[in-house]
């Protein structure tokens, strides 16, 4: 009787383990290739996880990174950042992994390419235009009294 119960128990465990082993989720290696760096652990892993997670936007939050948000989505994404860092994936590879699914929206710091480059260029262009306008206006103002004196003379 006991032997039969043990066999059934082993069978149940084997079936459960087999089912668990078959579960597979999309792997980073298929999407962004093999890890480009060394596997990390301990303090180095914690530091890398925090640094990379701070650059990834939480898709269900308002402008928060996955490092800062307490939402389940952010927690899951941060766990993935940690798992990928532990396997030796670089920051660029991890960002590429998330970008592949969410697009550049998921990056808190937009890349300098395409339309996004305007985000970087526009403030400097606006500043340069402002300086030019001030410069031209001052030149005109300086020239104006001189002309007036000339007219009065």
């Amino acid at each position: 009787m006991i032997r039969r119960m043990l066999v059934l128990l082993l069978l149940f465990v084997a079936v459960t383990l087999a089912a668990q082993q078959q579960v597979s989720v999309p792997d980073a290696e298929q999407l962004v290739g093999a890890p480009g760096g060394k596997p990390l652990e301990g303090a180095a892993l914690a530091e890398r996880t925090q640094r990379v997670a701070a650059e990834i936007r939480c898709p269900v939050c308002q402008g928060l990174s996955v490092a800062d948000s307490p939402s389940e989505m952010a927690v899951n994404m941060k766990a993935q950042v940690r798992a990928l860092s532990a396997r030796g994936y670089t920051q660029t590879q991890i960002e590429k992994y998330f970008e592949r699914s969410y697009g550049q929206f998921v990056l808190l710091r937009p890349k300098f390419e395409g339309v996004n480059s305007l985000v970087w260029i526009f403030p400097f262009a606006a500043l340069a235009l402002g300086v030019l306008i001030v410069f031209v206006t001052m030149r005109r103002l300086q020239a104006a009294p001189k002309n007036l004196k000339e007219v009065q003379q």
């Binding site: 079936v15 459960t16 089912a19 078959q22 579960v23 597979s24 989720v25 999309p26 298929q30 999407l31 898709p59 269900v60 389940e72 989505m73 899951n76 994404m77 766990a79 993935q80 998330f98 970008e99 592949r100 699914s101 969410y102 697009g103 206006t137 005109r140």
Partner: protein
Amino acid sequence: MNRTVLISGFLVTAALVGALFAGLGRDPRNIDSPLIGKSAPSFALKTVGSHEVLDVTDFRGTPVVVNFWATWCRPCWEEQPLLTAGASALKGRVQFVGVVFQDDETKIQDFLNQRGSAYPTLIDEGGKTAIAYGVGGVPETFFLDKTGRIVAKYSGALTPELLEKYVAEVTGK
């Protein structure tokens, strides 16, 4: 100088207003996904209420509708009868698959027992599949053609018209 500034200001404002008006005409739920046109991330997940594991690649050769949902999401409740009816009506032609997003298996089982379902529902532990699909909220539905390529994505509860439209896109009919 004043005239130049006025014209420049007018042109910049007109461009901004034009861009805003162009945005108003778009369906806010029809969000672009970088995955559209690409091969869908493959996954094999445990089915709710059993130890059976279902591999989505087993459905290659048949268009697949992958619906990410949760019992805590009210629009998912509204959408579920439509998907169930669609799965029954299109049985053998289109495969429907539900993937549970941040939820408890017992709650899902109770929900499905009460409301019924005509397609498998899978558990996504840790949300890795949802992340690979770029899911930001539920419901989100992906439409895969028979080769496993993502043809369309819709964020929000589907309507019969939208379901019909996207199914036509993946079946080519």
